[in-house]
């Protein structure tokens, strides 16, 4: 952006330099074993601005939102609907670099910098950005939503979100990704940085609802201060190849982080979720719960890691990943991992891949429900454990409906 302040231009140059300096990803790297980096254009070979077929996206109604920014193909010219308490800022991030420099400058890129290719790529190229600031003690009851759409007018879209929730403040923020089915390929790169100060509460929902043709690398990082509560909810339903990497950092004593996810992969979709919680202070709690259903010849990968470095006694950390395979030929890999270097911690991890229970299926079918529909009922039931954790009723219902609509 031409009128960005010098510090922001410098950051962009640094990202570009990092992109040149970092070795190209080959797929031989341990973290890239499951999703070929080339599928997500991690080496940045796709020229921007190449059309991938066009369509239009009907934006969902903005009712029930405190604010909404919608970016078409990454163009930073969002429509805004605002009904916000005093002091709360919801702004296009490019503009906020200057108008809210004091708030933005220290935090932007501090959780997700340029030390890996996804970070550098996004740092160098992002245009559709959202900035949310909730001042000390203020509660925003309705969700604040960003919608990034891809219509195929350009071959690449970049999104970046920065959220700051101050001490004792409370908010819900949704990042939603939508497109129609496209004939060509659109590469999407998004980075979300979430800061929740002492005693603050944030529920962040990433809802990936792309149509056919979109490939997406998403990084989500959340830092929770003392006694702060963070919910990172991730719903992945759309896109051809999607890799989501949420990390929650428990940075203050008493921090409470939950990472919840559900995914439903059908056709030949490939989804990878790499979910990490890092406990950097004593007496913190984290709980990762991801559930997925896999149908047709789709393939999903879950890698979960609980990291407890030295100096975090009293850590309480759990992770669970469960997968339901709906037919022969669908595949799920689950790799639950622990890196614990502190004594006196409570940690557990579990990963499972199973089939639909025959007795459940029979019970539903014996009431006339055809097999495919019965399996889907079971899948929605299976997801319910995650959906039940979403505190905002209307949002939970929307996500339920989205999961259902997927296979209609």
């Amino acid at each position: 952006m031409a009128d960005a302040p010098t510090w922001a231009d410098d950051a962009r140059s640094a990202a570009t330099a990092a992109l040149d300096a970092l070795p190209a990803l080959t797929g031989a790297e341990e973290q890239w074993r499951f999703t070929p980096p080339a599928d997500l254009d991690m080496n940045g070979d796709t020229p921007a601005g190449v059309a991938a077929g066009t369509g239009t996206v009907a934006l969902p109604a903005a009712s029930g939102r405190a604010a909404r920014l919608a970016f078409a193909d990454g163009t930073p010219d969002p429509a805004e609907i605002l009904d916000l308490p005093d002091g709360v800022i919801v702004s296009e991030l490019g503009a906020a670099l200057e108008t809210h420099e004091a708030l933005v400058r220290d935090r932007l890129y501090s959780l997700a910098g340029f030390d890996d290719r996804p970070g550098a790529l996004n740092g160098a190229g992002w245009d559709a950005g959202t900035f949310v600031f909730v001042p000390r003690g203020v509660e925003v009851t309705l969700p604040i939503e960003t919608i990034l759409t891809a219509t195929g007018a350009t071959g690449r879209v970049f999104g970046r979100t920065l959220v700051i929730v101050e001490e004792g403040a409370k908010a819900t923020v949704i990042d939603r990704y939508l497109s129609p089915d496209l004939d060509g390929v659109v590469q999407a790169s998004t980075v979300v940085e979430l800061f929740v100060a002492d005693g603050g509460e944030l529920e962040h929902v990433s809802y990936i609802g792309w149509g056919r043709g979109v490939r997406h690398q998403a990084t989500i990082r959340a830092a929770a201060g003392k006694d702060a509560r963070v919910r990172s909810v991730n719903v992945t339903l759309g896109g051809d190849v999607v890799r989501v990497e949420p990390t929650v950092y428990c940075r203050g004593t008493g921090a409470d982080a939950r990472a919840l996810g559900l995914y439903f992969a059908t056709g030949d979709q490939h989804f990878e979720h790499r979910v990490v919680s890092r406990h950097e202070a004593p007496q913190t709690y984290s709980n990762l719960l991801y559930k997925g259903a896999i149908q047709d010849t789709a393939h999903t990968v879950f890698f979960g890691n609980l990291v407890v470095p030295p100096g975090a006694p009293g850590t309480d950390a759990y992770q669970t990943n469960r997968n339901l395979i709906l037919n022969e030929g669908a595949r799920a890999d689950t790799i639950p991992f622990l890196e614990i270097e502190t004594a006196e911690v409570k940690c557990s991890h579990a990963g499972a891949v199973g089939r639909v229970d025959d007795e459940h299926l029979f019970y539903l079918m014996s009431r006339g429900v055809p097999e495919r529909e019965a399996k889907h009922l079971i899948v929605y039931g299976f997801f319910q454990e995650v959906l039940d954790e979403i505190s905002f009723d209307a949002l939970r219902e929307e996500l339920e409906a989205a999961a259902r609509a997927k296979v209609r």
């Binding site: 006339g368 529909e373 039931g381 299976f382």
Partner: protein
């Protein structure tokens, strides 16, 4: 006599390759209520599951005609759509699926058309009232945490909503308290008529005093060993099954 709604001839069924039913012959004319009794392990539930189309219950011989259709060619869902209903001895819990959502899906599936939400709500209220089924269960997950008796009532509620042509009640009476038994029996009796055939699997005459059967069958070691009138049930209650074979055979048929 009406055409049989159910006509079973020489039915052989194996579970995990173990033969359980060894040639069952049984006929229920439409509109009649038959009772099926027999010692533990004699194969009553096996017959019920095989009729309902549980994939683990493999038909290895004989035939089952249901209202003129060969059941062997039909999936469990198609059998239900054709009007067959099984109230299960042990209804399973399905996590996360709400009772309301399940019941609506089932009613739509068996009717083959979308029942409007309001009409369904009315239907649900009417049938819940009839069976004194607590409507707050609608928001709970399917059978999850239901008591034994609540599960049984829920089975009969489904029967009332789905209005089958033929219902098999597999020990619906066990686990019901006296009042619940009476209510469930009244529910079944309310549906009784020329368009409903019923097969009641039970160990006790108590339910048969509420729902008088036209015919009583005794299953023993995978076959129908005797068929008689309602008094046969009283006779069995008094004498047990020793006359059909040794007590050991009755307990563990080979």
């Amino acid at each position: 006599m009406a055409d049989p709604i159910l006509k079973i001839e020489g039915l052989e069924v194996a579970v995990d390759n173990t033969p359980i039913l060894k040639g069952v012959d049984l006929e229920v004319p439409q509109g009649e209520v038959h009772a099926l009794m027999g010692p533990n392990g004699s194969g009553k539930s096996t017959l019920a599951y095989a009729l309902a189309g549980h994939p683990r219950y493999e038909i290895t011989g004989g035939s089952v005609m249901f209202g003129g259709q060969d059941l062997a060619d039909m999936g469990a869902d198609e059998r239900a759509q054709a009007g067959l209903f099984l109230a299960m001895q042990y209804p399973v819990e399905v996590p996360g699926v709400s009772v309301m959502n399940f019941l609506r899906t089932a009613v739509n599936a068996t009717r083959g058309e979308e029942v409007p939400v309001r009409e369904f709500a009315r239907l649900f209220k009417e049938k819940s009232d009839l069976l004194t089924f607590d409507p707050s269960f609608a928001d709970r997950y399917l059978n999850e945490g239901f008591s034994g008796g609540e599960k049984k009532r829920h089975e009969i509620l489904q029967m009332a909503l789905l209005e089958p042509a033929f219902a098999i009640l597999d020990e619906t009476d066990s686990g019901l308290d006296v009042d619940a038994l009476r209510i469930v029996a009244e529910g079944v009796n309310a549906q009784r008529g020329p368009d409903l055939g019923v097969l009641i699997i039970t160990h006790y005459t108590r339910i048969l005093n509420y729902i008088r059967p036209d015919v009583v069958h005794v299953m023993f070691d995978g076959r129908i060993a005797r068929t008689g009138g309602p008094d046969l049930a009283d006779h069995l209650e008094e004498k047990g099954y020793v006359e059909f074979g040794s007590a050991e055979t009755a307990a563990a048929p080979r």
